[in-house]
Each structure stands twice: as structure tokens, then as C-alpha cells.
């Protein structure tokens, strides 16, 4: 090798190195980090953390662990990749037991944004903003180290408290033991248990009632007993206060009576109890008084419940809330002001709510048909394997199940063919969104649906909760009375937002299934927001290449099978 070529090679290497160093940060910029962060929070955080495994794997360094092309395909069609025998996909399914949702409704550009955000090495941290890439330099979130240190000190203190409590117990035990021994040898009883316990009763009562009032003062202020953000919420609150006063009164009176009686009538030498087996008058009194109090509460609750659950007013806007493992979708009516028909049979990657859109239907039918044929073919060939291993047997059982389901699905889809009511075009312009926006003082009529298991739509500030049941749409209507901005002012919390939580246990990531609700001041603001939203089935979305599994992977799977067959 002469000097010339060496220099040539060195320079080219240097150029590459320089290019990497200089342009690598700009490689991040092929997606919009801010949009990516928003999309990530809307779609991914219910299952993924960065620093640790959740329902799915930890995403720290995921962009270096996996190739970008792989990630892009995986986000779109994880199940198809597993079906096609992707080794990493199989491992993941093995490890986590569940398959990642197909995010087929995300465009390639949006997925690019998400990946760009992932490349910034964000960290978990709830409210704290993830570190943002600033001109190619990473800004480290301040105080993260300090926060860690203080929290570990705090936990150390907590454990010390536990240790001290245990030590106190042991010492108490020892002291009692010594006192017991002394009294055994001297014959003098060291204590009178009746007296000690009677006094402890009084101490417990005083401390207990004190703590109760302290809690009302300290934690009572977080309780949602006023400032309801909805019209009916105010009546729920007044019901709650009535109940609180009645039960609170009974609570104090009966508890005081209990502990005071226990103290006053403790055993003393020479005391004889009063033989007093019954008094019918008293029994009547304390049957009838609670009965009256409860009647008051029942009538009160009855009227309120009927007014809350009565039919929604005509001017209420109907919005569909769709729950799935683990997130929410919201559907607003499009220009025609009507929500279109739906069926769970029509759910697909590009049509997550199963809306009655005809070309979506045609596409889905073709897709199911192709998959069915492919699976049948694979099954037939696997069937000829002479000595299937237990793993292969399991795979065949899985295939058989899929074939059965797909056949049934296909026949149900066929029944929908030419269904005028289902495909009446009302669904074509519906908006499928990730944010709920309501208008102050305008009644809202929610229709809840669920895709897979029972969820529960719970929004405490509106005093709203209703289960979302697969196969049984449920409803709840109310009138919001405070905008998000007003509520922030009332609660003196500039970060406050209304949320819709899932309150019914729905799987491992149940704890992280929420969606923001925004209440705006007037209809104009709402219409402006609505106009900005794109319909779910706008041409832009449909331009995304149809969801066909990567042929290369399928081929490898096939060749593998064939290899086994020939073996």
C-alpha cells in the first residue's frame, strides 16, 4: 500500500467521521421531537417506561438496540411480524405475554416523529419535561440526581421509623416481662388491666377524634366535595354534604358512647352490672329514628339519581368515547353532525373504532381473506411435519385458533356486504381523536364503548363515572360549568387538567390509562379547534401503503417450515 492510497483512505475515513459528527444531530431532526413527544404520551406511555419494563419493554436506548426500519414496522404491525416469525418479536411476546397494539393509524411521518423523540433519550418523570434536544446538545434535567438522593434519604428515614417501632415493641415486651417477674416474686399485681385498658380507651377516643378532625382539615381540602365542574355535580356534592353531616353526627355520638361506656363501667371490686335485658320502647326508638334518617337520604338520593340519569337534552352534543387496553379514543361527528355506524367486526389497524366506512370494509375483508389463506397454507404444511416438537404443536394450535376465528370473522364480514344502514357514509367524515374538548355550559352526551374488556370512564371533577362494556354501549350526559382555565384559577394550580381515568381493573397497565379533557369557554373556540382536526379517513391517511406484511419475513418463515418438512 503506498502513501497515496493510505492518505486517500484516511481522508475518506475522516470525512465519514466528520460527517457523522457534524450531521448526526441533524439526523434526529428527520422527525419533529415535540410532535413525537405528544404522540408518544398519547399512545405509548400507558404501556412503556424508559427506565424499566412496564406492560411492554423499557424503551431506554431502544433506537440503538433496534434498527429504525424494524421499529417502524413493529409499531405499525407487531402481530404480523410475530406471525411472520420475527425472532425479536417472538422473544418479546414470550417475555411479556402480550402483543403490542398495532398502531396502523399512525402515519409514517408520525412514527418518524416518535422515533425522533425516542432518540433524545427521554426519561420517566411524570410532570417533569423530558430533556429536549437543543441544537444537537442534550440538556440534562437539573436536580435529577438531587431528587434521587433526597428520596433515598426519605426512604431511609421511613425504614428507621419502622425499625424504631419494632425496637420499642421489643423494649415494651422486655419491660412487661420484668414487671411480670417482679410481681410474681413479690406477689403484688403490678398493674390493673381493667384500669389501664379503660384509660387507653379514653386516650384512643381523644386521639382518634382529634386525628379525624385534623384529617378533615389537612386532607379534607383535597376531597371533591365542592367546586364540582358540572351542573349535576353540585347536586351530588350537596347530597354528599347532607350524608356527611348525618353520618358524621352518628359517628361521633356512637363512638363517644362506646369508649365512654367502656371507661365508665370498667370492672371494679364490688361493682355489679345492672340486669337490664331489654326495653322495647328503646328498640322502637332506635329502629324508627335511623329509618327516618335513611328515608330522608333515600328520597334525596332517589330524586337526584333520577335527574342525573334521565334522557340527555336535545341540544346535547353526542361524543363517543372508546376504551381499549390501554388507552382512549374519542370520536366527534364530522361536517354532517352525525356519528356513523360501527361494528366490532370492522375494527382494523387503520379503523381502530370499527366504523362503517365502506372502503375500509373492503380492504379489511381482503386482508382477512389473505391472512386466512396464508394461515391455512402454513397450517397444512406444518401438519406434514413428521415429529412436531411441543413448541411446534403449540404453534399449530395457535394457528388453528386463528383460522377458526378468521373464518368466523370472514363470514360475519360477508354478511355486512352491501349493508346500506352500516355504510351510509355518515362515518366517513368522523373525527377520531386523542383529546376531549367540551364547551362550558353546553350539555355533553358521552356514549362509551369498549374494544376488549370492561373499562370505566371516570372523571372525578365532573362527578362522572360510567363503565365501558364490550358489546353494550353505555351513556352519561352532563353540563360542564367550569373551563380548564377557570378550574386552574380556583384550585390555584396552573398545571391542573381534567382527566378521564380508567377506574375498572382492565389489565396490567390499568394504572396509566388516561386522556385529557379540555373545557373551553365558548362555542367559537370549540369550532376553531374542531376545524383544525383531520377526519380519520381523509385521503392523507389512506395514502399510507396498505398494510401488507413484509413479504421477505413471510418467505423466511415459509422456507424454515419447508426445511423442516423436507428434513
Amino acid at each position: 500500500m503506498n502513501l497515496r492510497t493510505l492518505i486517500k483512505k484516511l481522508t475518506s475515513a475522516l470525512t465519514v467521521l466528520l460527517a457523522v459528527v457534524l450531521f448526526a444531530p441533524s439526523a434526529y431532526a428527520d422527525g419533529n421531537v415535540e410532535t413525537g413527544k405528544k404522540l408518544f404520551e398519547e399512545n405509548c406511555t400507558s404501556c412503556h417506561f424508559f427506565g424499566r419494563d412496564g406492560q411492554g419493554p423499557a424503551l431506554k436506548d431502544v433506537t440503538t438496540r433496534r434498527q429504525e426500519a424494524w421499529l417502524k414496522q413493529w409499531i405499525k404491525q407487531a402481530d404480523k411480524m410475530i406471525d411472520a416469525g420475527d425472532p425479536i418479536g417472538k422473544q418479546l411476546k414470550e417475555k411479556f405475554g402480550v402483543v403490542m397494539t398495532n398502531f396502523e393509524w399512525l402515519t409514517d411521518a408520525q412514527i418518524g416523529d416518535i422515533i425522533a423523540y425516542l432518540k433524545t433519550n427521554p426519561t420517566d418523570g411524570g410532570a417533569e419535561p423530558a430533556p429536549v434536544v437543543d441544537g444537537g446538545k442534550e440538556v440534562v434535567t437539573p436536580d435529577s440526581g438531587k431528587a434521587e438522593a433526597t428520596s433515598s434519604v426519605k426512604s431511609l428515614i421511613n425504614f428507621l421509623i419502622v425499625l424504631i417501632l419494632i425496637a420499642v415493641l421489643i423494649i415494651m415486651g422486655a419491660v412487661f416481662n420484668v414487671l411480670g417477674l417482679i410481681s410474681r416474686y413479690t406477689g403484688i399485681p403490678f398493674s390493673n388491666p381493667h384500669k389501664i385498658n379503660a384509660w387507653l380507651m379514653i386516650v384512643f377516643m381523644v386521639v382518634g377524634l382529634g386525628a379525624t378532625f385534623w384529617e378533615f382539615k389537612v386532607h379534607g381540602k383535597f376531597a371533591l366535595i365542592d367546586n364540582a365542574a358540572s351542573e349535576h355535580g353540585a347536586s351530588v356534592d350537596s347530597m354528599l354534604m347532607t350524608t356527611l353531616y348525618i353520618t358524621g353526627f352518628v359517628f361521633v355520638v356512637t363512638q363517644v358512647a362506646l369508649f365512654v361506656f367502656a371507661f365508665l363501667y370498667r370492672h371494679k371490686p364490688g361493682r355489679k352490672a345492672l340486669f337490664y335485658p331489654h326495653n322495647n320502647m328503646l328498640e322502637y326508638v332506635w329502629t324508627i329514628i335511623p329509618a327516618i334518617a335513611l328515608t330522608v337520604l333515600v328520597i334525596n338520593g332517589f330524586t337526584k339519581w333520577s335527574s342525573i340519569t334521565k334522557k340527555a337534552p336535545d341540544n346535547a352534543e353526542t361524543v363517543e368515547v372508546f376504551a381499549y387496553q390501554f388507552g382512549w379514543n374519542v370520536r366527534y361527528a364530522g361536517a354532517d353532525k352525525k356519528l356513523g355506524e360501527f361494528s366490532f367486526n370492522l375494527i382494523s389497524g387503520t379503523n381502530p373504532l370499527g366504523l362503517g366506512v365502506e372502503d375500509q370494509y373492503t380492504k379489511l375483508k381482503a386482508e382477512v381473506d389473505t391472512n386466512l389463506r396464508k394461515n391455512e397454507d402454513l397450517f397444512r404444511r406444518m401438519h406434514t411435519i413428521p415429529d412436531p416438537t411441543s413448541e411446534e404443536k403449540e404453534e399449530m394450535a395457535g394457528l388453528a385458533q386463528k383460522i377458526r376465528l378468521q373464518k368466523a370473522h370472514l363470514s360475519r364480514l360477508a354478511a355486512l356486504d352491501g349493508d346500506k344502514k352500516m355504510f351510509n357514509k355518515t362515518a366517513d367524515d368522523d373525527l377520531v381523536l386523542k383529546e376531549i374538548v367540551l364547551v362550558k355550559n353546553k350539555p355533553i352526551h358521552f356514549v362509551f364503548r369498549a374494544r376488549d374488556v370492561i373499562h370505566s370512564a371516570y372523571s372525578p371533577h365532573f362527578r362522572m363515572q360510567m363503565n365501558c362494556v364490550p358489546g353494550m354501549p353505555t351513556t352519561f350526559w352532563f353540563t360542564p360549568t367550569k373551563t380548564t382555565a377557570e378550574m386552574r384559577g380556583i384550585l390555584e394550580d396552573p398545571k391542573f387538567d381534567y382527566y378521564l381515568y380508567c377506574a375498572k381493573i382492565c389489565g396490567a397497565a390499568h394504572y396509566n390509562m388516561k386522556i385529557k379533557i379540555r373545557v373551553v369557554e365558548n362555542d367559537a373556540e370549540y369550532q376553531k379547534w374542531l376545524a383544525e382536526q383531520k377526519p380519520a379517513f381523509a385521503p392523507a391517511v389512506e395514502a399510507v401503503p396498505a398494510s401488507t406484511p413484509a413479504p421477505a419475513d413471510t418467505d423466511t418463515a415459509k422456507t424454515q417450515v419447508m426445511a423442516q418438512v423436507t428434513k
Binding site: 402481530d79 405475554g97 402480550v98 402483543v99 411524570g126 428520596s151 421509623i161 415493641l169 388491666p193 389501664i196 385498658n197 386525628a211 383535597f222 376531597a223 371533591l224 350524608t243 348525618i246 353520618t247 352518628v250 359517628f251 356512637t254 358512647a257 369508649f259 367502656a262 363501667y265 370498667r266 352490672a273 340486669f275 337490664y276 326495653n279 322495647n280 328503646l282 329502629t287 335513611l294 337520604l297 334525596n300 332517589f302 339519581w305 333520577s306 342525573i308 381499549y324 370473522h409 360475519r412 376488549d452 374488556v453 370505566s456 371516570y458 371533577h461 363515572q465 362494556v469 358489546g471 353494550m472 353505555t474 377506574a503 375498572k504 389489565g507 396490567a508 390499568h510 394504572y511 396509566n512
Partner: protein, 635 residues
């Protein structure tokens, strides 16, 4: 009379008893003696209780310090505790198994099984249960069920994790969560075995109470414990089969492709399922048709035990014996009509919600009557603070606190915002969790001398009580406020929800209190085990109680009484009668000159301005028992 024939037959059997040899196996393992079976239930129940409690400490650690890692978790949980944190799915598993163990294995079998078995024959004056063999089967089904449930925690896909209420579709297919696979199958198997055990026991309890009472033991002389156990068994007999059917239909849906509970489901990874036409709400109706009576199956024995313990230790007749029975009957009857209050917001017809709201609030009336009667029993009593009595008083306090919040949750309007929040957790842990555990502990302290012939250490008992009592309130009282602030239950992590950050220190406080409560239970365990072997020898009747079990010899013998079964001459609550020097008169003591066991004790006139009538007998009770006698063809 059929009764006296049984009586003689048993006496004959008793004479023959010394001839057959008892081996270790027949005495301690496959025993048919109700006293041994009750000990088996108690020990199994305590072990299950400690498992359940340990699980609660594990998930409380997670809730208190979500950002911390606890390396020991990885040591004990393996892949479920990777990196020292509990896996979110396994958190659900822990919550589910904790609930199942506590509700069914500790508070149903551990409580009813122990005390119904011990006390029914001894307090009604029977030689054993109606069918000792079925009684033995009942325990062994329970044992198998416990083993299956505990095994399910150790399988690779994790235990059932859909909550102890196992609502489908979540529990119907493993595609929704890994615990709904084999773990759920084992859960269902365990519960089916459990129901078999419960029914075998229940039939026995009912038969024994109705047919095997000794001479003179009419229904209106039964101790309130027996009334409570009897009605509990009736509730179990009527409601557990419904859970069995719910479970069977779920098994069909899971394994045989039926669609009782499933419809219109699209599962991630499988696509549209072919189950059409079922309803997940149907399962909830069936489940809560057991589920609500189950609450009273748990609570009523605890209330019965407390009635007995409080009357004995206050040295006073229980106030309003008849009213107590009427309210037990009322609770038992109404408990079948209120299940819908668990389902106000499932989307069921709002009109149904109204009906269930009214019925639910009605059930508060008999509960209130019971509370006031306990208070009236303590009033002007002569209270002996034994550990059993302390736990009895603790039960009343917890029953009040937890019961009152039931009025909130039974109101559909308030349930909208409180449903599935920590308020519910606080409510049921106080009223049926802690209160029933206190009833069980009261029973253990009170009847320990009867079971093991030795006394438990009182000082340790006091320490145990005060720590547990304080800790129970410290754990559950703050949860009311979390619930009112809208914090949903069954969330594995709160650190991702900045809006709930203000509860961080409360969660830490609760966890420390929970650890304290667990430490207190270790003290109890130490006391229990130590006292079995080295406790002070018990006297014949250490609490100077009236009921029949204290007339049987301290040393357990087969058939309970060496000679004749004692005859009963009076009700069980003749404490501190003004006409008698001694402050108690056991049930088997006749009044002066009384030769026959007469129906009603009205022999001795009592001159007391405060007691309007001479004994507990009055018009109401006469009418009540006349009706009951008709129904059950009592003697």
C-alpha cells in the same frame, strides 16, 4: 320424641367410644371430631391469613415508595420483582390473591369453619356434628382448595390477576392479561373446591342446630353465636351455588367456546373473537348475588361471637336478645336483595339502581339496631377487659366507622364519584375486613382455653389489640380522603400521575401503619403458638360464662361430655341477676324447685325498676318464636 332418641343413641355411642383405638392419623389428620376439625380450620385459616397479609405488605411497599427499588423483592419474587420493583401485572396478581385469600379462605372458612365447628355442638349440647364424615370432607376440600390457590401464585404466567371479582372478559382469555391463563384456571378450580367445602359444612351446621339441640335448648334459648352461625350457613347454602354456576359458565366460556359473558370483542393479537350474544354484566349479577350475602357470611359470625363475648365480659345480659335475632334475620333476608348496589354504574337500567338503593339503605336499619344494642349492653355493665373483650369492643367501633360509609356507597348518586376509588377500599376493609378479623380474634382469645385447655398470655394480648386497633384505623381511615379526592383503586403506580402527588406521604404513612399491623400479628402468632404448648393451664370456666361449652371437661373427649349431655333450663344471658348472689347462672342450672326444663324462664320474680319485664321473654319474642316454630317445626 326424635330428639331424646338421638340423645340416647349418642350416649350409647359414647360408652362404646373407649373401645376403638385412635391413631395419630385418625386423631389429628382425618379426624371426624368437630373440635379437632375446628382447630384444623383455625390453623389453616391463620396460615392463609399470614400469606394474605404478607402480600398486602409487598404491594403497600410499591405504593408507598414507587421510585425506590427493593432488591429483596427480586430475591423472593424472581422475574416478577425484577430490579427490585413489583411488576405491574404481578401487582394485580397480588391484589387479587390477597382479596381472595382474605375474603374466602380467612374470613369465610377460617372464621365460620373454626367457630361453627367448635361451638355449634358444644353450645347446643350435641355430641358432635350431624355428619362428622361430611364435616371431615368439608375441611379436606378446603385444604385442597387452599393448596391449589397457593400453587397458582408460583406458576410461570402468574396467578389470577383480574381482581377478586374476576370480571370477564378480562378473566375470560389470557390474551387480555397473562394471569387470566393457567392462573385463572387454578383460581376457578380452587373456588369450586371451596364452594363444595362450604356447602358440606353449611348443611352440617344447619342440620345440627335444627335437630341436635339438647333437652331444654329451644330456639329462644340459643346463644346469639349459634343464631349467627345458623343464619350464616343458610346464607351460604343459598348463595354459594350461584357463584358455582357463575364460575362454571366462565369455565365454559374460557375452555369450551361458549359465549355466556362475551360479545363484540376485538382482542389485540387475535382480532375479532367469535363470541356473540353474551353479556359481561350477567356475570356481575351472578357474582354479586353471592358477593353481597358473602359480606354478611363474613360479618354475621363475627357479630355473633362479639354478642357472646361482650355479654359475658360486661357481666350483663345482651340487650334486646329478640331484637338481635330479628335484626340478624332482617340482615340475612335483605342481603339477597341488595347485590345491585355493586353495579350502579355498570350501565344497568337506572331504575334498577333506584330499587337497589332503597333496599340497600333499608339494610342499615337492622345494622344500626345491633350497634345500639351493643352500646346498651355495655351501659352500666361491669366490664372485664380480657383481650377477647377488647377485640369485641374494637369490632363495634370498626363496625360503626365502616358501616356508616356504607350509607354513602349505597346511595347511587354518591356512588358515581366514589365507585372503584380508595373510599370503597376504606369502607369494606373496615366493615368486613377489620371488623370480621376483630370478631375472629375475639373468638380466638375467648375460646382458646376451650380449644387447647390453656390460657393465652393477657399482656401480649393487650399489646396485640392496641397495636392492631390503632393500625387498622391508621391504614384505612386516610383512604376515605383519597377516595373522596378521586384516587382510583387498583393502580400499581402513582408516580406517573402528578395530580395524585399530594397522596405520596399519605401512602407512606399507610404502608408504615400496615407494617406495624403485621408486626402486631406476629406478636399474636407468638402468643398463640407459645400458649398452645406452654400456656397457663385453663380452669373449667375461666370467663365465668353461662353457655354449655364451659360445662364440658377441659380435656377433650370424643362425645364432649363424659356422662349425660347437660339439660338446659334457661337462656344463656342470666348475668348479674339481682336475685342471685353469683353474677352468672349457667344454662344447665335449674331454678330452685324446678325439675323439668321448662320453655320459658319466668320462675323467679325480679324486682328491678329498670327491667320492665322479668326476663328476656316478651310478647314480641313469643310471636317471633311461634312463627319460627311453625316454619321449622321446632319442638
Amino acid at each position: 320424641m326424635a330428639h331424646s332418641q338421638t340423645h340416647t343413641a349418642h350416649a350409647g355411642h359414647h360408652d362404646a367410644e373407649h373401645h376403638h383405638k385412635e391413631t395419630f392419623i385418625s386423631k389429628y389428620v382425618f379426624s371426624m371430631d368437630h373440635k379437632m376439625i375446628s382447630k384444623q380450620f383455625l390453623v389453616t385459616g391463620i396460615i392463609m391469613g399470614f400469606i394474605g397479609m404478607f402480600m398486602s405488605v409487598l404491594f403497600r411497599l410499591q405504593l408507598a415508595w414507587p421510585d425506590e427499588t427493593f432488591p429483596f423483592l427480586e430475591t423472593i419474587l424472581g422475574k416478577w420483582g425484577k430490579g427490585g420493583r413489583i411488576d405491574a401485572g404481578f401487582y394485580m396478581g397480588l391484589v387479587t390473591i390477597h382479596g381472595t385469600i382474605m375474603v374466602f379462605y380467612v374470613l369465610t372458612a377460617g372464621l365460620s369453619g373454626t367457630f361453627s365447628n367448635l361451638l355449634i355442638p358444644l353450645q347446643v349440647g350435641a355430641r358432635d356434628m350431624a355428619s362428622p364424615f361430611m364435616n371431615m370432607l368439608s375441611y379436606w376440600f378446603f385444604f385442597m382448595s387452599s393448596v391449589v390457590l397457593v400453587i397458582s401464585v408460583f406458576i410461570g404466567t402468574g396467578p389470577a390477576s383480574g381482581g377478586w371479582t374476576i370480571y370477564p372478559p378480562l378473566s375470560a382469555n389470557e390474551i387480555f392479561m397473562s394471569g387470566s391463563g393457567l392462573g385463572m384456571t387454578l383460581w376457578l378450580v380452587a373456588i369450586v373446591l371451596f364452594i363444595v367445602s362450604s356447602l358440606l359444612g353449611g348443611i352440617n351446621y344447619i342440620a345440627t342446630v335444627l335437630n341436635m339441640r339438647t333437652k331444654g335448648m329451644s330456639m329462644n334459648r340459643l346463644p346469639l353465636t349459634i343464631w349467627a352461625f345458623f343464619l350464616t350457613a343458610v346464607l351460604g347454602l343459598l348463595s354459594f351455588p350461584v357463584l358455582l354456576s357463575a364460575g362454571l359458565l366462565l369455565i365454559f366460556d374460557r375452555s369450551f367456546g361458549t359465549s355466556f359473558y362475551l360479545s363484540d370483542i376485538w382482542a389485540n393479537g387475535l382480532g375479532a373473537l367469535d363470541n356473540i350474544g353474551g353479556s359481561p354484566i350477567l356475570f356481575q349479577h351472578l357474582f354479586w348475588f353471592l358477593g353481597h350475602p358473602e359480606v354478611y357470611i363474613i360479618l354475621m359470625p363475627a357479630l355473633g361471637i362479639t354478642s357472646e363475648v361482650i355479654a359475658t365480659n360486661a357481666r350483663k345480659p345482651i340487650f334486646g336478645y329478640t331484637a338481635m335475632i330479628i335484626s340478624l334475620l332482617g340482615i340475612a333476608f335483605l342481603s339477597f336483595l341488595v347485590w345491585g348496589h355493586h353495579m350502579f354504574i355498570t350501565g344497568m337500567n337506572p331504575f334498577l339502581g333506584e330499587v337497589f338503593m332503597i333496599l340497600t339503605l333499608i339494610i342499615a336499619v337492622p345494622s344500626a339496631v345491633k350497634t345500639f344494642n351493643y352500646l346498651a349492653t355495655l351501659w352500666r355493665g361491669n366490664i372485664h377487659f380480657t383481650p377477647g373483650m377488647l377485640f369485641g369492643i374494637g369490632l363495634v367501633s370498626l363496625f360503626i366507622t365502616g358501616g356508616l360509609t356504607g350509607i354513602w356507597l349505597g346511595n347511587a348518586t354518591l356512588d358515581i364519584n366514589l365507585h372503584d376509588t380508595y373510599f370503597v377500599v376504606a369502607h369494606f376493609h373496615l366493615v368486613m375486613g377489620s371488623a370480621a378479623i376483630f370478631g375472629m380474634l375475639a373468638g380466638i382469645y375467648h375460646w382458646f382455653p376451650r380449644m387447647y385447655g390453656r390460657m393465652m398470655n393477657n399482656t401480649l394480648g393487650y399489646v396485640h389489640f392496641w397495636l392492631t386497633f390503632a393500625a387498622a384505623y391508621m391504614v384505612f381511615f386516610p383512604m376515605h380522603f383519597m377516595g373522596m379526592a378521586g384516587v382510583p383503586r387498583r393502580y400499581a403506580f402513582f408516580n406517573l400521575m402528578p395530580e395524585f402527588a399530594q397522596w405520596q406521604n399519605v401512602n407512606e404513612f399507610i404502608t408504615i401503619a400496615a407494617i406495624l399491623a403485621s408486626v402486631a400479628q406476629v406478636i399474636f402468632l407468638y402468643n398463640f403458638v407459645r400458649s398452645i404448648f406452654w400456656g397457663k393451664k385453663a380452669e373449667q370456666n375461666p370467663w365465668k360464662s353461662n353457655t354449655l361449652e364451659w360445662t364440658a371437661p377441659v380435656k377433650h373427649i370424643h362425645g364432649n361430655w363424659p356422662g349425660e349431655v347437660p339439660t338446659v333450663y334457661r337462656w344463656p344471658y342470666d348475668y348479674s341477676r339481682p336475685d342471685v348472689e353469683q353474677d352468672f347462672i349457667p344454662q344447665n342450672v335449674p331454678d330452685e324447685g324446678q325439675l323439668e326444663p321448662i320453655e320459658h324462664t319466668e320462675a323467679a320474680p325480679i324486682h328491678n325498676a329498670n327491667a320492665p319485664e322479668a326476663s328476656h321473654e316478651n310478647t314480641e319474642s313469643k310471636v317471633l318464636f311461634a312463627v319460627l316454630r311453625r316454619w321449622f317445626s321446632f319442638r
